[in-house]
Symmetry: none
DNA sequence: TATGAATGAGGTTTCATTCAT
DNA sequence: GATGAATGAAACCTCATTCAT
């Protein structure tokens, strides 16, 4: 039990250090200083600096996978829209809660080295596939307009990532829920057939900032 | 004249090395080995590893700034659309031509250190402002629907970056022009009032992949 | 305890290397090879090559300051002479014991760079002030002849340094105590009123070499 | 003729640079920048950085040798005193005229490396021998008191060097001639039999600073 | 003779990892 | 398990010297 706690504490400290300084600038010294632990202790829990980072990255990835569900078409138009919303909300909820985690994913893990790039890429590709399948489904239901599903999926994913990036970097933005609503309306307009799109659009727009 | 050539050659080699290995994993040795130049020669042209990278990044940023123009509303609806297209095309043209350059911008320069992050962030913020102004203009002309311009601008920028990221990482995608067309239609649907959006949509969709 | 020993050992080895090769020719490799220690270990104890040297220099300076006392006039003529003697003896004792230390002070630290030059100069200036005050005192007691105290102080300091320099460089000289006696008689003649000077001179001269 | 001029110019610039920055901190770039000459040109005139410095040092040494004469006893007591004076004056005249030269000798050439140390030491040893022979002569003429000639010679040399060192380092001192007079009186008291010493002392002391 | 671009040996320093206590 | 001193590979950068023009 003790062991698991310590491990979690170390992971937590490592996350903060990586988020603040970036992978390379972060040193083992930074981590153990923050964790108030001896150097050797760190290596009792993790094989190397690389592996801590990898585990943190895996955690973030799992966190997001846990929030994203394949869309189930059996619940009608409204159900599909609700599920789409739930996915985007989930991701933002998970990542806005903690800037460190967001930074790790959208900034610090990028371009580290071929292996990490690969892992990141695979994660994003899985998300893209999921999105593509959802889009295909939407098209079958005649909710989604004809489009290149891969390109559209990337556009959606990219729009989410960009906002997370700016959140992580501290850019000023509308408060969480309003921002997500706004983003969702953007997606709806871009994807859905006019009949649906107009309905959603009417439901929500208040001002124009 | 000789000097400029050498410098360009070194920059070119540095770009390739950075793109392949990432900033930190790339060593001066890698660069000079590739350039077939002695160690000191490198420092004859650049102050440090950091400054070569910075110059490369500045070049990429300049490259993109050169391709992006503020939208001029005086030429009517079609003119505005054409200008939007030109901007996106320009950016893709500049970056698709060379995977290394694209990688530098969307992958290797991210999360390097506070100074580079700042530079990158400022670059993206300038692009966002430009986009926001264009959106405001579109709204005045009743071309663009009511929306939070900042969020929309980020969504657009993010969609472009994501596609570039995947291009840089080698993901399979539709051939250049088709992809850009597809992406533009996505933007049009997301931004424009239905009357315009439908016109554009009708004009272009061929298949659904 | 262990730590202090290691540190002392490293300082000792560094001293020897600096004395043998000079500051610039001495490399960290030389020091750690002699100390049979890994490269990193050196940096565990000292921040840089510069700081080891500085600490060594500080040590030598402290060593000498510890041996030199302001002259107390309350103990009469003989007392003053005895104190003068004690000071000169003290300095020689401290530095003759170890050629490396002497070399560091009179040879290796000279002309290194503006900062070290400054430190050295300040040290010598403090000694000069002390000498000047002692001379002023001697003049008040009518023991010391009228003279420019600054020039006389420099002459005395210089005579001591020159002998130390030759000792450090291995020039053959009379054995320690005889040499110091001889030097003291030189000073006495140069400084004191004839009545005192003759008394001291009579007391000591044995041969003329 | 042209060649000799250029060489002299380079030597001059090198002297200034060495005096200002010290041997190691001085770079070939510093020298050629000051001389407004290309890098290769430097090597047309000198084999290496080391050899320029060596030639400068040789020049200084020659300069001093030219000013110092063995004392000729045939011209009586006053003549001997006058010659002693002339030697010390000569050395100061040569070195006070130019701080760069003084710095080179008393500060920058010290502790450079074994070879330079050797050269410097030999130079000082020659001066010492000369002094020792003069002292022996003085003793034969019953002008100089019984003393260890080597120690006395070192004391005299050291007193001169110390003053030059402080001049070179910018310490405030009495104006040239007064300072040399003062120093000479110091030497006279330290060396000469009372009868002579008193005569000289009476002749010059004005104040006590 | 003069130039200055090119060279590369060599130095200092960092820091992830190990291991004896 | 915990500690933290010790390790040493590897990186960056400088600068005296060379050499083609």
């Amino acid at each position: 039990m003790r062991r698991a706690e310590r491990r979690a504490h170390l992971l937590r400290c490592a996350l903060e250090v990586f988020a603040e300084k970036g992978y390379h600038a972060a040193s083992i010294s930074d981590i153990i200083t923050r964790a108030k632990v001896a150097r050797g202790t760190f290596y009792l829990y993790f094989e190397s600096k690389r592996t801590v980072f990898e585990q943190l990255l895996d955690e973030v990835i799992a966190l997001i996978h846990a929030r994203v569900r394949r869309i189930d078409p059996s619940r009608g138009t409204e159900g599909v829209l609700a599920q789409l919303e739930a996915n985007v909300y989930g991701v933002f909820e998970a990542l806005l809660a903690e800037r460190s985690t967001a930074r790790l994913l959208v900034s610090q893990a990028v371009g580290l080295d071929p292996a990490f790039d690969q892992k990141l890429l695979e994660f994003f590709r899985r998300l893209l596939e999921l999105l593509e399948r959802s889009l295909a489904l939407g098209q079958e239901m005649h909710l989604v307009v004809p489009l290149d599903r891969r390109v559209a999926a990337m556009a959606i994913l990219g729009s989410i990532k960009e906002i997370l990036y700016h959140v992580a970097m501290g850019t000023e933005l509308p408060p969480g829920p309003a921002m997500v609503d706004e983003l969702l309306r953007f997606h709806v307009r871009a994807l859905f057939v006019p009949a649906i799109a107009e309905r959603v659009q009417a439901r929500g727009t208040r001002g124009t900032r």
